[in-house]
């Protein structure tokens, strides 16, 4: 069944033990789209990625990727699916004991029987796509944060996957790297025909490049829409998020007893 939806999440709930993280989430990502999943820290964004990657199974609901239900796959089926998915971890997660070249070549060497010449060409092509062909011989420890993440991106697309997931790709980058990263995500999605799922809380950068946005808060989707719709949204939570307001649906104060009582101002007058 050839559907246009690469990723379909229907009524998914998940919790760690007694603590519920997702309480019923519906999400769709179509082929060729860049979809952003936004929300404040700890709202379950990364959990969604792990559900799609099959690292955890939902307590309720279905997660489907390219028509297959991820939770029902056996080990071999899951590994086959993962070969068609790429994931970019928050700080790159490069293998620190091998060089940049070997990092990108890792999946090629593990999953294909290609000769070393072919692998060499492919690796250099991928590195060129992210602009780091000259850094092939460096070790991960010698890279800056932004460069490390670009290498991780090259590694993620090494096998030409159909879906790439980005976990906070903009976190902690300088303005130039921010621009470069955003640019890369959009360009690769368009030229390689991928689908990209970007989990982030960097609103400004992501709104420049995404096709569709989902807002997650307290385990449910509170808002969704195209980039333009989100920017114009008047929903309080979305508005607070997009404009970076200090107080709103997400309160400034951590729950505490009344201020006067805490300072015991009343007691002094007794």
């Amino acid at each position: 069944m050839q559907t246009d939806n690469l990723v379909e999440i229907r009524d998914v709930a998940f919790g760690y033990g007694a603590r519920p993280v997702l309480k019923g989430v519906d999400l769709v990502a179509r082929r060729g789209q860049v979809v952003a999943i936004m929300g404040s820290s700890g709202c379950g964004k990364t959990t969604l990625l792990r559900l799609i990657g099959g690292q955890i199974r939902p307590d309720r609901g279905t997660v489907r990727v390219a028509g297959q239900t991820v939770g029902e796959l056996d080990q071999a089926g899951l590994y086959r699916l993962r070969r068609k998915m790429g994931m970019l971890f928050q700080f790159g997660a490069l293998f620190t004991d091998i060089s940049v070249f070997d990092n990108v070549a890792f999946q090629l060497r593990e999953h294909t029987d290609l000769p070393e010449d072919a692998i060499r060409d492919l690796v250099l092509m991928k590195l060129n796509a992210v602009g780091l062909r000259g850094a092939a011989r460096l070790m991960p420890a010698e890279l800056s944060g932004g460069m490390a993440r670009r290498v991780a991106l090259a590694r993620a697309i090494a096998l030409d996957p159909m879906l790439v997931m980005y976990d906070e790709p903009f976190a902690g980058l300088d303005p130039i790297s921010l621009g470069v990263t955003g640019n890369l995500i959009r360009r690769l999605t368009d030229t390689l025909g991928l689908t990209s799922l970007v989990v982030t809380h960097d609103v400004q950068e992501s709104l420049k490049i995404v096709d569709y946005v989902y807002f997650v808060s307290e385990g449910v989707i509170v808002a969704e829409g195209t980039a333009a719709e989100i920017r114009a949204s008047t929903l309080p939570y979305v508005h607070q998020f997009v404009h970076g307001e200090a107080d709103g649906p997400v309160p400034f104060h951590y729950p505490a007893p009344a201020y006067a009582d805490d300072l015991r101002l009343g007691a002094r007058h007794a």
């Binding site: 690292q55 086959r80 993962r82 994931m87 700080f91 997660a93 293998f95 999946q107 593990e110 999953h111």
Partner: protein
């Protein structure tokens, strides 16, 4: 107050047993996924460099000094019975049966074991193991199993080298320094040390120690909380738990092996 202390103790014991079950399952998983470690032996050889070769210096030097001390102390005691010529026997049997496997295992646990735990713990904390999983490569087969087998293979080699250096040290002190007769040093040793009983048993012991230390080191690293304190706590636990396990197992194995010598 007492009740809470007992509750605490019970809780800790249950946690400990639960954790041991976890570790046992981990051990069997490592064995099951060892195919890659042998099919791509280069991976295992690489790990043998980091666990075995880099432990060489400490093992050889310690072996030499332990042997030299055995020579000195042994001579003092044997002299009171007029049996100085049995020095070779004393040094060789102590080393081959006990000190070689046990001390080499303790050194291995503190040097290589803690390094393995730190490395795996760090790989987990920086999401490298997760990344590998997402790239459809089983981290247990690719990262854990080669380190396990490298430890199991390196351990008996290190123990043998420790014993050999110890005998050399005993020889240097006893014969060259103190003046025990060289001929009787070696001949009495050769007639007292039996290949099957003593040397082979020593090798078996060191293989068992290798299995235990590698399993504990890998498990602690794999299970460590992904924070700085988590990894450092895991490293300490590896050294302490492996050392205790080695000493306890040594007693059990010795009781089995050297009980019925008739």
């Amino acid at each position: 107050m007492l009740r809470r202390a007992i509750e605490n103790l019970g809780n800790r014991t249950v946690q400990g047993v639960w954790r041991m079950g976890f570790a046992a399952r981990f051990f069997f998983a490592v064995l099951l996924h060892s195919g890659t470690a042998f099919r791509r032996f280069g991976l295992t050889i690489r790990e043998m460099y980091f666990t075995g070769v880099l432990s060489l210096i400490i093992v050889l030097v310690s072996g030499l000094f332990v042997g030299m001390v055995l020579g000195l102390q042994g001579y003092e005691t044997l002299q009171t019975y007029g049996s100085e010529e049995a020095l070779g026997v004393l040094v060789a049997l102590s080393l081959v049966r006990e000190l070689g496997p046990v001390v080499a295992a303790l050194l291995f646990a503190s040097r290589a074991g803690s390094a393995i735990t730190a490395e795996i713990g760090l790989m987990k904390a920086t999401e490298q193991l997760s990344a590998m999983e997402m790239m459809a490569v089983d981290p247990i087969a690719r990262v854990v199993a080669p380190r396990f087998w490298a430890g199991v293979i390196s351990m008996p080699l290190l123990a043998a080298m420790f014993s050999a250096m110890g005998v050399l040290g005993g020889y240097l002190v006893g014969v060259q320094l103190i003046g025990v007769d060289e001929g009787s040093f070696w001949s009495q040793m050769q007639s007292a040390v039996d290949f099957e009983q003593d040397i082979l048993n020593g090798v078996i012991k060191s293989v068992v120690f290798g299995v235990v230390i590698s399993t504990i080191a890998l498990f602690e690293g794999y299970d460590a909380p992904p924070t700085a304190e988590g990894v450092s706590g895991a490293t300490t636990r590896t050294v302490v738990t492996s050392s205790l396990a080695v000493l306890a197992l040594d007693f059990v194995l010795t009781a089995f092996m050297f009980r019925g010598l008739n």
